[in-house]
């Protein structure tokens, strides 16, 4: 469960330096960023609880610890841009503006869930908000982002499309084909790899033949950029530059955001494969604690206000869960709808 900033772990001197630098970049607008990260954290914590309580079944892939990537990236986008993500996509949806209720609703298989209860945890989608989908087959969303980027270019619009995916996903064919296609067509696509060091239970070194994912950009003649994925402002500005490039017609960028998932790969994974101490190190680099420190240090909020914000968001998210739990299940006959569109 989320540890309030007020009780966050001690930090070391490296972390202190990172936070000082982050604080120097903070301003009033970042309160909203902090709030969104908190929404995601409480959301994921609550999904975890729902599973433990047996309120949902199947599987779920939580993103506590990785909030800065989705939130930072989404803050570099604007209306008309689009995003695709993976089964670990709750953060992306919430960052792009989906309500906690409708996300919970989908995970609970409710008729008012984002996808009418047909998709589930791995398929949260909100096209109206620009989230074209959560894809549960590794690598499958990258070509879709390429297509959305092509649509913008085709119409002469300066919209961009951004794909989130994991480090392990960079070893599948669709990754390769997508980056090459986006590159040769100079498409306004941004490929954001959330490198959380693991693909399921396997460490990146065991599966991936390159030290930094960003280095794979060389194979497509496009920029490859590595960024601290737990520094939401750094993510925002790196994605911002890639978006700039994309809008100007200069083509795609591969961005690697170094981050860490606090939980196991999925519901059933206790993550015992981690070396001792690794999680603790990354808890020190918690992206939320960092930004909370930043806004306080920058004089935007007091620690008391941060505490209030946390309490407020927690209550909101839990209220959302309660609402969604109250929604009705779909009618059995509803299952036959939404296969084909008319006409």
């Amino acid at each position: 469960m989320y540890t309030r900033t007020s009780a966050a772990p001690e930090i070391d001197s490296d972390e202190a330096m990172v936070r000082a630098q982050l604080a120097a970049r903070c301003d009033r607008g970042d309160v909203e960023v902090l709030r969104t990260m908190l929404v995601i954290r409480y959301f994921e914590d609550e999904v975890e609880q729902m599973f433990s309580r047996g309120q949902v079944r199947g599987s779920t892939h939580l993103g506590q610890g990785q909030e800065a990537v989705a939130v930072g990236a989404s803050r570099a986008l604007r209306r008309g841009d689009s995003v695709t993500c993976t089964y670990r996509g709750h953060a992306a949806l919430l960052a792009m503006g989906a309500t906690a209720e409708r996300c919970f609703g989908e995970i609970l298989g409710k008729t008012d869930g984002l996808c009418r209860g047909k998709g589930g945890s791995m398929h949260l989608t909100d096209v109206a908000l620009g989230v074209l989908g959560s894809f549960a087959i590794v690598g499958a969303n990258l070509p879709v982002t390429v297509g959305a980027a092509l649509a913008a270019q085709y119409r002469g619009q300066d919209a961009v499309s951004l794909a989130f995916f994991g480090d392990g996903s960079t070893n599948i064919g669709a990754f390769h084909e997508s980056l090459n296609l986006a590159a040769i067509w100079h498409l306004p696509a941004i490929f954001v790899c959330e490198n959380n060091l693991y693909g399921e239970y396997s460490r990146i070194e065991a599966t991936t033949s390159v030290a930094s994912i960003a280095d794979r950009a060389v194979a497509y003649g496009i920029p490859g950029v590595r960024v601290d994925g737990n520094d939401v402002l750094a993510v925002r500005s790196a994605v911002g530059e890639a978006v700039e490039r994309a809008r100007s017609g200069a083509g795609p960028t591969l961005l690697e955001a170094l981050t860490y998932r606090h939980r196991g790969h999925s519901r059933t994974d206790p993550a015992t494969y981690r070396p001792p101490g690794e999680l603790e190190e990354w808890l020190v680099r918690d992206p939320i604690a960092r930004l909370a420190y930043g806004v306080v240090e920058a004089g935007v909020l007091t620690t008391g206000e941060v505490d209030d914000l946390e309490a407020q968001v927690e209550a909101e998210v839990l209220a959302g869960a309660t609402t969604a739990l109250g929604w009705s299940d779909p009618e059995s006959a509803d299952r036959l709808e939404d296969v084909f569109a008319d006409g």
């Binding site: 009418r116 070509p143 649509a151 084909e177």
Partner: protein, 325 residues
């Protein structure tokens, strides 16, 4: 619209839809500058330009997924999968993404994507370039599957496919490219079979290359006094079982002719539907004339044996008519 070849009907259907709707575009390997490996898209680049007629890398996964993304954003992509067999390398994008996108999102978007795939055996291309691939997708809900056999249907069904709000796989049989015929109307509705020959004694259902063989056999048997009704299924999904059923109500006998092995094919599905609903109407066991359960062999005589021949079709029709309940 006059006489043309099946090949020309493909190009013309695409051209007419490109003219009709600015959101339609075509992409595929060598479809633009080269006019397509089968020359089905010749001249389109010159008329519609490089934004709408796009040569691509050899990246079928990316192409199909790209079409999905563009479709969600409101375009109407037409993708050529040069040989239908290459559906193997993008099967996930077709079966897991394209087919399921609308459903998974709870109906948030339609997916107006047309895939064009050159299909079928008979030309000596070997086992990886000759398969009747339409049968790979029958168990994947969310796709429409179209198998035109005539020039007019090729034209009209392709136009309907491009206008359809859903993913449609259009199989273009390589053995029919040079077929000539006249095109009389713009759109042929997806999901309706067509009775290409009236008859009383037995109902024969076929598609594409086999339709023409079945028709030839039916004509020759007609001279012997055996009157076979021939139905071109045209669309495999959704399948027009009703038209077949109506015919069987009159003839009481059914023979399906399928390019490709029996297992998992459309003919078995059709037979199982008909026996369920019309068991007591049938006076003979429904028969399927299908290919051997082997990869498509290369040597001419072996490939010829693999494809259901007119002799086998004739034998099945005669046997069906001879059976008595």
């Amino acid at each position: 619209m006059g006489e043309m070849t099946y090949r020309q009907a493909i190009g013309k259907a695409i051209a007419d839809e490109l003219s009709f709707d600015p959101d339609v575009f075509l992409m595929g390997e060598d479809v633009a500058a080269a006019g397509g490996v089968f020359k089905t898209t010749e001249g389109l680049l010159e008329t519609f330009g490089a934004v709408r007629i796009r040569d691509t890398p050899i990246s079928e996964q990316a192409l199909v997924g790209c079409a999905l993304g563009a479709a969600i954003m409101g375009l109407r992509p037409v993708v050529e999968i040069m040989f239908a067999d290459f559906a193997g390398v993008c099967f996930d994008q077709i079966a897991n993404q394209l087919a399921k996108y609308r459903y998974l999102s709870g109906g948030q978007s339609s997916v107006p994507v047309t895939l064009r795939l050159s299909n079928g055996a008979g030309l000596g291309f070997g086992a990886q370039h000759s398969q009747p691939v339409e049968n790979w997708f029958l168990n994947i809900p969310g796709l429409k599957i179209v198998t035109p056999s005539t020039v007019a249907d090729m034209y009209g069904l392709l136009r309907s496919a491009i206008r359809d709000a859903n993913p449609v796989l259009v199989f273009e049989h390589k053995g029919l490219h040079s077929l000539r015929g006249s095109v009389d109307r713009a759109l042929v509705p997806i999901g309706r079979a067509s009775t290409v020959r009236d008859g009383e004694a037995v109902t024969v259902v076929a598609t594409q290359l086999m339709l023409h063989r079945a028709l030839a056999v039916a004509q020759s048997l007609g001279d012997e006094g055996i009157s076979a009704e021939v139905i071109d299924l045209r669309t495999l999904v959704p399948m027009d079982v009703e038209s077949v059923a109506k015919s069987v109500e009159r003839t009481s006998r059914l023979v399906c002719v399928q390019e490709g092995p029996l297992g998992g094919g459309w003919a078995a599905s059709l037979v199982s539907e008909i026996v369920r609903s019309h068991f007591y109407h049938l006076e003979a066991p429904p028969r399927i004339v299908a290919s051997d359960p082997i990869p498509v062999p290369y040597a001419k005589n072996l490939e010829d044996s693999w494809l259901p021949s007119e002799e086998r079709i004739r034998a099945a029709l005669r046997a069906s008519v001879a059976d008595t309940a």
